[in-house]
Structures are given as C-alpha cells and as structure tokens.
Amino acid sequence: MNKQLENAVLDSPTPSKKWREMSHDDRKTFLNDILKQRSDFYENFEVAHAKDDGQVIVKMMRALNPSERGTLLLDLEELFKLEIDQGINLWAEALGDKNSLRNLRGIEVKHD
C-alpha cells in the first residue's frame, strides 16, 4: 500500500506562535546563522525574506544545475523545519520571463 494515499487528508504544518511573534529581521538572522553553520554546502545562499506565514525566500548567489539545486534546497528546508519550525516552506527568488517579445506585455512575476 502506498503511504502517500494516507497523506491526502492531512493538513500541512503551520508556523508556531514563537515563529509568528518573532520580528522579520530576527527570523532572517536566525535562518542565516544556520546557513553560516553549514557554509560547506550553503555559502552562496542567503535568506532574503522570512515571513510570518512560514514562507522563506532564499537568494542563490551562484547559478546551480537543476540536478544540484533541488536536492540542496529540499535538504535546507528539512533542516529549517527540524531545527527551527515545522511550518517553514522554502522558496528561491522568482525570475521574470526572458522572452523579450512577451515582455512587451509588461507582466511581472509577483514575488508574494
């Protein structure tokens, strides 16, 4: 039996009161300190936003192959969940369309 099927009815974890009550800067500092402790893997990563709803946006200072970045980011999210708060969800910075013709439409990818 596939255990995934049991997940269908489960709720996703949400951030704790402690996380929600911390200031944005404190949350960022907290997370960036962990990145520094793991600088062997994450020296080119920086937390750009750490919102009270658990959404954490990291900036990658160096382009990584898709075969590397997925694993690194999922590992990092696991680490943040384990060490800080189960309600954290990690995302990278969004990129806008590089197609110059489509860009004439003026649509911007929102970051929130």
Binding site: N7, P66, S67, G70, A92, K98, K110
Partner: protein, 379 residues
C-alpha cells in the same frame, strides 16, 4: 467514461481524464511502485514568436536555458520508450514548431510506438513541415485566441493592425484540415481559446470560426494564473459568461464540436486536493530542458522541485534517480499544499482530482471495460 463528447471518430474527452485506460499504472501507484509517467507534456524550446496576453510561459523562467539539440531530443524519445511512456504532447512553455528537432523528434516518437500531439499557433507551420508530421500525430490543437482577425492580433501579437498573423495561421490550419481529409488521417484537429473573462465578446466569433474551418473541435478553457495572481485573473468573473458559453456549445454540428471545459472553469482557483499526485502520471518538461514535476514549478522560485536537465544527463537516469522520487514524494506529502503553493488549474488538474478522490475513497478509479476513447494515452 465521463464527460465524453461523441464525434464522428469516437468519444472525445477534453474536460475530464482517462486514468481508467491506464489502470495498470494506477494499481502500481497504489501499491507504492515507482511508476513511469503515462504521458509527458513538453516543449522543444522556450522561444515563441507570439506574445499572448494569457501565456503562462511568462511565469515559467527557470535559472538557465539549454538549447535542445536534435540528438538530445532523439535520445529523449528512446528513453521514453525504454521506461514505458505512452504519449508525448508538445505543448508546455514554448513553440516547438520553431525547433530543428520538431520533425525528427515527432517521427522518431511515432516509430517507437509513442502517441504524439502538439499545440501550436501554426505561424511557422508551413506545408513542408505539416506534410512530414501530420501522418504521425494523434492530435493537433491550434491556439486561436479569438475568432476575429483584429482581436486575434491584439491578444496574440503586437496590436490589432497585425492581422497578417491571423491570416497565416488560418491558411496553415486550413491546409492541415484539407490534408487530413485527402489522406484519410486519424489525427484530430482542434482550435483552442484561452478565455480571460474580459474576452467575452470573442466567444461566439471563436465558435463560428471553428465551425467555418471544419476542424474537429473548438474548445474554450479557463486561463491559469500563478498563486500570486501575476496575470490578474478574476475567477469570479467566469460565472456571468455561462450563457454565452452555452450558446457557443449549441453551435456544434456533425463535423465540429464546440466544447467548453466546464469543470476547470467551475473549479476556479482552488483545487479540492492538497496533495499533488498527478505529476507521477503526467510529467512536464520545459523547453529549457528542465525536468520538473509540473510546469507550475518551472520558475526559479520552485528550484527545490527542479530535478535535472535532459540535455545534461539522460532522461532515463533522471527518472531513476532519488532526486526524481524525492520531488514526487514531496508533492504527495503534507509539506506541500496544492491549494496555496502553486498556480491554478495545472495540466494535471483532472488526474490530480481523480487520484485524490481515489485516495480518499470518495470515488474510486475503475478499469475501463468499454472501447477506449480517442487519445486515450493522453491523460
């Protein structure tokens, strides 16, 4: 089969799913096996000469693009055959007809017994190309944003004065309709309008154009948006259009069926499922070569779900990797909530709803015991 429209050539399902035709994969998934996708939706390039106002590709920029060479595409087809993929649709995030790999890839997939389909604006789809690919295709869907030339040019190109793009598309679509008849091909030809609520005046002209062209269907669907609402779609504004959409459907005749994707339009911007099981059955690949579970995750924002690039390593190795299964398992875990963490109504929406209902015991998926519908390998 649910929501099938009877056509001269068989039952056509555009507003539901065909998982019942792939019950072996459903059973294997339920048993916890690592299944091959039934279908892959992909593009051979991120490039496109159009600038459609509804284009989701604007939200799908990953970190870097790779150029897909002919040999990459041929290797990909071989890998698809080896692992058991049954169909490939060239839709995704670019205009595949612009790629040098377009013709050889289609021909090779067909020779391997994999069903092939394509969505295109048909602007660069001249007779020479059509002659080479049409006999190999299961379906082709033309993006036709509106039935009137000026509106079409305004929505899909630089402005209403550029009706030459409409003329070129219609000429090429007519050529394909005629060639299908001449050669007695089984390919299904359809046109599709992506309906943004403000385009309501285009609904009836679009249906009329479909009937006039003599294509097999003219389908009207919702417009997807990302979870941040970058395209600004107001899903509450679809309901006032229901009467017009019903009128459009009534224009169907024996040759051309006007079809509205009611389920997606009515489902709006919030799915019933939290876990996203669909990508295990219907995988998407970007025209950048990026393999990610769904087009919803092509943007760099979702880098944690980026698995690999098939121009850098063989697809069969990506599929076998722990990376692939980690991303799929993540989407099926409580860490992912499809209601808040991705855009609206992905290509895997119908199958994800069905798999979720199956998992919850609300409605079990059963094997298809009747005749397969048209395009049964496309979920």
């Amino acid at each position: 089969m649910t929501n099938a429209v009877e056509t001269k050539e068989g039952a056509l399902i555009l507003d539901s799913h065909k998982l019942s035709c792939h019950y072996d994969r459903v059973q294997a998934w339920e048993a916890g096996e690592r299944i091959a996708p039934v279908s892959v939706d992909m593009s051979l390039t991120r490039a496109c000469g159009a600038m459609c106002s509804f284009c989701y590709a604007m939200m799908q920029e990953s970190q870097s693009r790779s150029s897909i060479k002919v040999q990459d595409a041929l290797n990909l087809a071989d890998d698809f055959a080896e692992i058991g993929i049954r169909s490939v649709s060239l839709v995704s995030d670019g205009e595949s007809t612009l790629s040098k790999a377009y013709v050889p890839f289609i021909q090779h997939l067909s020779s391997l017994g994999i069903d092939v389909a394509n969505a295109t604006n048909a602007w660069e789809w001249e007779a020479e190309k059509v002659d080479q690919i049409l006999p190999h295709m299961t379906w082709i869907r033309f993006t036709v944003a509106a039935g009137r030339p000026e509106s079409y040019a305004k929505i899909m190109y630089k402005g209403p004065e550029h009706t030459e793009v409409f003329d070129r598309a219609i000429k090429n679509i007519k050529y394909a309709v005629d060639l299908k008849k001449k050669l007695g091909l089984k390919v299904t030809l359809g046109i599709q309008m992506v309906l943004m609520p403000e385009l309501k005046d285009e609904i009836i002209p679009f249906a009329k154009l479909g009937v006039d062209l003599g294509v097999d269907y003219a389908v009207i669907k919702h417009c997807s948006d990302d979870e941040s609402g970058s395209l600004g779609i107001d899903y509450s504004q679809y309901e006032p259009l229901y009467d017009l959409l019903t009128q459009a459907e009534a224009m169907s005749n024996d040759q051309t069926k006007v079809i509205v994707k009611w389920n997606k339009i009515k489902d709006g911007d919030k799915p019933s499922y939290k876990r996203f099981y669909g990508p295990q059955f219907l995988l998407q690949i970007s025209g950048s070569g990026l393999v990610a579970p769904s087009g919803m995750f092509f943007n760099a924002r979702y880098s944690k779900l980026h698995i690999g690039n098939f121009t850098e390593e063989r697809f069969k190795d990506i599929w076998k990797s722990e990376r692939y299964w980690r991303a799929m398992n993540y989407l099926a875990s409580p860490n992912f909530d499809a209601q808040t963490m991705m855009g609206t109504l992905p290509i895997q929406h119908y199958i994800s709803t069905a798999l979720d209902n199956h998992a919850k015991g609300i409605q079990r998926i059963n094997p298809n015991e009747g005749k397969n519908p048209l395009h049964h390998n496309f979920l």
